[in-house]
């Protein structure tokens, strides 16, 4: 794909240079060197090299904030995604966080011979089956546990989701050799690796014969729903666990114990702005008796980002964005910051562990995934 094709496909040509994107962009607020409007302008002037060899190309969080504000409907996140594919072909990959461990792991699992041991955390308290209509997509949680030197609690999200599914009598299929969904690869321009991962996953899913896939990670969900159809065919109903729970609450199938806690909800960009799922998680939180849900200054479409996407170009600005969000949560007076993305949780925890004056004031708040809160509040069925 050439620059001209990208400009046509993403409506970049309609840019009015109004600068709304740069004023809403979370990165631009801290990093003066980055501006979506300038990026688009460079593309329109045909300065391809200025874009491809620009470090800031990989700074974009693809958070969709600009896309929702743009009066000309320029698909800036898609523009960045495609530009990164060109950059990646030219050997530019951005600055991978954690030295690129996550990217390397993703490339390793594209190998067809690999036999992962990703379900070793599974204990007898969870009921799973080999044949069922429902599949639960675990995602990268088994790796996250080992990659980071602070507690990520990613595997707890998976365990809590299984507990919830078991509560409804669903015994989901878990794929022992499931691959990474490839979200990070697609958004950092490594389309070939993404395609291979998508093919592996599609083959495994069609082999398992399931009718419905449930996700606890919004990134996997968004990738399966929006990007997989361009590469592979998946004939299943896809659902995020928050949608599943809110449906159950509508049918009044859940009973909760009283849980006294004041919480605030952080919208992950993939679930919120990308997929438009704002209400289901809020409905779930409000259904738990004793939970008081307060909104942050920026919420729903206006929600601030957790500061890093695809583990690329995580820098001082990312940390500042995180601290800003954490302070906002603290300002509401809530005890717990609830999110529904394991990666948002990792980024927030990282910001709280790695302190430093230049990164902003120290802030401590409990961060928790929505499913953990729900799983703890579930009343035992007799």
């Amino acid at each position: 794909m050439t620059l001209d094709d990208i400009i046509k496909e993403t409506n970049t040509f309609y840019c009015l240079e109004c600068g709304k994107c740069s004023s809403i962009c979370p990165i631009s607020r801290y990093n003066p060197a980055y501006s979506p409007r300038v990026m688009v302008e460079h593309a329109l002037l045909g300065l391809e090299d200025d874009l491809v060899y620009n470090r800031e190309l990989f700074s974009c969080l693809t958070c969709y904030a600009c896309q929702l504000k743009c009066p000309s409907d320029v698909n800036y996140p898609l523009f960045i995604q495609k530009m990164r594919a060109i950059a990646s072909n030219n050997g530019e990959h951005g600055e991978c966080a954690h030295s690129g461990t996550l990217q390397s792991l993703t490339r390793l699992v594209t190998n067809p011979a690999v036999k992962q041991r990703r379900l070793e955390w599974l204990s007898d308290e969870f009921r799973t089956s080999d044949r069922s209509d429902v599949l639960f997509f675990v995602g990268c949680a088994p790796y996250f546990e080992h990659i980071f030197d602070f507690e990520t609690k990613s595997i707890d999200i998976v365990k809590a989701s299984l507990k919830i599914l078991n509560y409804f009598g669903i015994e989901p299929v878990l794929l022992p050799n499931e691959r990474c969904c490839g979200h990070d690869m697609l958004w950092t321009g490594d389309v070939e690796t993404f395609r291979r991962l998508a093919e592996h996953n599609a083959a495994l899913i069609s082999e398992s014969g399931v009718k419905k896939i449930i996700f606890s990670c919004p990134e996997c969900y968004q990738t399966f729903k929006e990007n997989y159809p361009n590469y592979v065919k998946i004939d299943c109903e896809l659902q995020h666990i928050s949608e599943f729970l809110s449906e159950a609450i509508e049918k009044d199938e859940l009973s909760f114990k009283e849980t006294k806690r004041k919480v605030t909800y952080h919208d992950p960009c993939r679930l919120g702005r990308h997929m438009g799922i704002y209400e289901p998680p809020r409905k779930v939180l409000e259904a738990i008796p004793g939970i008081e849900l307060v909104e942050m200054k920026h919420s729903k479409e206006e929600s601030l980002c957790c500061g890093t996407s695809a583990f690329t170009n995580c820098d001082l600005y990312s940390k500042q964005i995180r601290v800003e969000r954490l302070l906002e949560a603290k300002d509401t007076g809530a005890e717990t910051l609830i999110t529904s993305c394991p990666k948002c949780q990792i980024h927030f925890r990282c910001a709280m562990v790695n302190k430093g004056e230049e990164k902003g004031p120290d802030v401590e708040i409990e961060v928790m995934d929505m499913v953990n809160l729900v799983a703890n509040a579930l009343e035992e069925k007799n």
Partner: protein, 143 residues
């Protein structure tokens, strides 16, 4: 058919294990040729990505070797290495690789015989375990 010859990448600390390997050479101590040594300044600087890239490139086994706790040139390198190694073991295990493919050693400068012994033992183990599943892409490369 030729016997399978494993490829081992050894990350050796400049001050102890690299010197030990050097002395093993000058003292004509025989050890298998399967190991390729990468000199690093301290075992504490080895990052999980070094090891993953080695596996990505088709290595069958990786050794991370450096000073013991009391010998470290940089006070606490081995402690950092141990912490990193614990996490790395988890990653490699989840990836489905056998535990024999990854080894952490502390070999002091004067212990060149130990170095030769470790390499010999690991080559033996890897010959039993067989080639790494990630090696398939790099079958054209011979040791």
């Amino acid at each position: 058919m030729n016997e399978f010859e494993p490829v081992i990448i050894a990350f050796c600390c400049n001050w102890c294990t690299y010197a030990a390997a050097d002395i093993a050479g000058t003292s004509r101590i025989q050890y298998p040729h399967n190991v390729s040594i990468v000199r690093v300044m301290c075992s504490g600087m080895v990052d999980p990505i070094y090891v993953l890239r080695a596996f990505e490139g088709g290595a069958d086994g990786v050794i991370i070797a450096g000073c013991s706790y009391v010998d470290c040139h940089y006070i606490n390198g081995p402690v950092k290495c141990d912490a990193m190694f614990e996490r790395l073991k988890g990653i490699v295990h989840t990836l489905g690789l056998e535990d024999e493919r990854l080894r952490r050693e502390m070999i002091s400068t004067s212990e060149s015989i130990v170095f030769a012994h470790v390499v010999e033992e690991m080559v033996g183990q890897l010959k039993k375990v067989g080639p790494s599943p990630f090696r398939k892409v790099r079958e054209d490369i011979t040791v």
